[in-house]
């Protein structure tokens, strides 16, 4: 094996999020030392996933089939669709394990300055789903940023005609959080969204 191939591998690893040139070098060295137990299975898994990975035709989640596991699972046809910006957000929701419905991944947020319009996001597919599936509620789980909120308002506006309930995640005090450490904007949002006990 030439040293060039090794350098190429290190350079590729360094392009991964969370890794830099030094940590990539360390990771590659670790893999080479454990080539039997770790490197070979990793290479095989990478090759297999690379060959089979695809975006779910329904929701935009990633998986190894045309329909992702969530869309293929009939128990998740609860009538609720949770709209998220990105697959990472879908995974975050799944980690919490409380949402039993299905998802819709937009692939970004509306941003005129970044030239991202509705046609660049999977909004038409979402509207189509409302006609095809028995959807009772669309839950918007988007970031509390200008672009996230714009996208939320846009979707709510677009699907108003479909007669489906639209809700969004609450904003406020995080679980286990102390008020003292919160910024003013969060406290304002929490107070606005207060609930009766």
């Amino acid at each position: 094996m030439s040293a060039d191939r090794l350098e190429e591998l290190i350079a590729l690893m360094a392009r991964l999020p969370g890794l830099g040139p030094r940590s990539a070098r360390r990771a590659v060295l670790h893999l080479i030392k454990k080539r039997g137990q770790l490197m070979a299975p990793l290479a095989q898994a990478l090759a297999e996933v690379a060959a089979s990975a695809r975006d779910c035709v329904v929701c935009g989640n990633v998986g190894t089939q045309d329909r992702c596991e969530i869309c293929a699972d009939p128990r998740r046809a609860t009538g609720e669709i949770c709209v998220v910006e990105d697959v990472a957000d879908l995974w975050a929701m799944e980690r919490a394990g409380v949402f039993k419905g299905r998802y819709h991944v937009l692939g970004g947020t509306l941003s005129a300055l970044d030239a991202v319009g509705p046609e660049d996001l999977r909004i038409p597919q979402l509207i189509a789903r409302l006609g095809e599936e028995e959807v009772t509620e669309v839950i918007l789980a988007l970031g509390a940023t200008l672009d996230g909120q714009t996208t939320g308002h846009y979707i709510a506006d677009e699907i108003a005609a479909a007669g489906v309930a639209v809700s969004s995640l609450a904003q406020g005090v995080p679980v286990g959080g102390e008020l003292d450490y919160l910024d003013d904007g969060t406290i304002t949002a929490a107070l606005k969204a207060r609930k009766r006990l």
Binding site: S111, A112, L113, P118, Y154, D157
Partner: protein, 360 residues
């Protein structure tokens, strides 16, 4: 709140300056170009925004070294004390630290309200609305610290909307989504400004007659509109066609204007004499400080030189009566006659190694 210390490093003409202050007004005198206004500018940066000259971070660095600059200030008062550090490396934007922790610029607005009057504002009532709007916003920020955040939110949404207008996008839902957010932030801006005008007006009435009272009115830009978020959203939606033709947003608080009239004469500020216009501004700033109960820091650049001796005495008496820390500049020590013993006097001169400051 007042400054108890101010340290500048490589800031404009000041290579290294350290001042200890006791909370009384500060009278700074020295020849033209010695660095008096630079001191005021450093203080003005302890408030959100780009300071009294609206300078970019890079322009504040001492030349020719351009090593970047640093301003450190200690604030005390009302049972609290804070340390503010501002710095910028060459080519980088300004970084803010409050009590040793990185902070957003808008957070400065909650520490100390700050008001200023600089010679560039002499034509405030005659020139375009932008200067008056900025004056109104500084007044508002002194009463409503969240005004800065509302303005930022409004401008961010408007930039997006303006881009849609320029690109001739015709998707009504996209406009509505942005206009809702502009309306919400815009209504907060409107409410803040209205509160500021009302409080300054009330403080003027109680203030006596050394400086003329002004009647203030906010004039809605791009046609009148209601005051709530729903009204603003309607105004924006109705203006879409016109805005598309213009390629930018023509309605909203970013187009508002501040009108002032000399109350005793019933005359618009723009029609008053130069001296009267200046007196009106001073009157408004004093009323603003009065309404805040003596909390703000005032920066009055070259104000004394344009006042006759009676008015000057009245100004000094008003400042001392309010108990505010006012930073005043003037070319000669004689301009501050009557302030001796009631203010700290600083003499600024230009040396071979930049500005130097001594007790005046």
């Amino acid at each position: 709140m007042h400054l108890t210390s101010l340290a500048l490093s490589h800031f404009r003409s000041h290579k290294a300056v350290r001042l200890t202050l006791d909370g009384r007004p500060v009278a700074i005198h020295g020849p033209n170009g010695s660095g008096k206004t630079n001191l005021l500018e450093a203080v003005s940066l302890l408030s959100p925004g780009r300071g009294l000259r609206r300078a970019a971070a890079d322009d504040l660095a001492r030349r020719p070294e351009t090593l970047g600059w640093r301003v450190v200030a200690d604030l005390a008062g009302a049972g609290a004390a804070h340390e503010i550090e501002l710095r910028a490396e060459p080519g980088a934007s300004r970084a803010v630290r409050i009590d040793g922790k990185a902070a957003a610029q808008v957070a400065l607005g909650r520490l100390v309200p700050m008001l200023w009057l600089v010679p560039a504002m002499d034509r405030l009532w005659i020139e375009g609305a932008e200067g008056r709007r900025r004056f109104l916003d500084r007044m508002t920020l002194s009463f409503v610290p969240d005004h800065g955040a509302a303005t930022l939110a409004y401008e961010r949404a408007m930039r997006e909307r303006n881009r849609l207008l320029r690109d001739e996008v015709r998707d009504p839902a996209w406009y509505r989504a942005l206009e809702r957010q502009m309306a919400e932030a815009g209504a907060a801006i409107d409410a803040g400004r209205a509160e500021a005008v009302a409080r300054v007006a009330a403080a003027q009435d109680a203030g006596g007659a050394a400086f003329p009272a002004a009647d203030l009115e906010i004039v809605a830009g791009g046609g009148s509109r209601g005051s709530g978020p729903a009204d603003l959203a309607v105004a924006l939606a109705e203006g879409r066609g016109r805005d598309l033709a213009a390629g930018r947003t023509l309605t909203g608080p970013h187009r508002d204007d501040l009108a002032a009239a000399y109350r005793a004469k019933g005359m618009a500020a723009a029609q008053c004499s130069t001296g009267e216009q200046k007196a009106l501004l001073i009157s408004l700033i004093l009323a603003n400080a009065r309404a805040l109960g003596g909390a703000p820091i005032l920066l009055l650049d070259e104000v004394s030189a344009h006042l006759d001796p009676d008015r000057r005495t009245a100004l000094y008496d008003a400042i001392c009566g309010l108990g505010v820390q006012a930073f005043l500049t003037g070319t000669e020590a004689a301009l501050f006659a009557g302030l001796e013993g009631r203010a700290e006097m600083l003499a600024v001169s230009e040396g071979p190694d930049g500005s130097s400051i001594g007790a005046g």
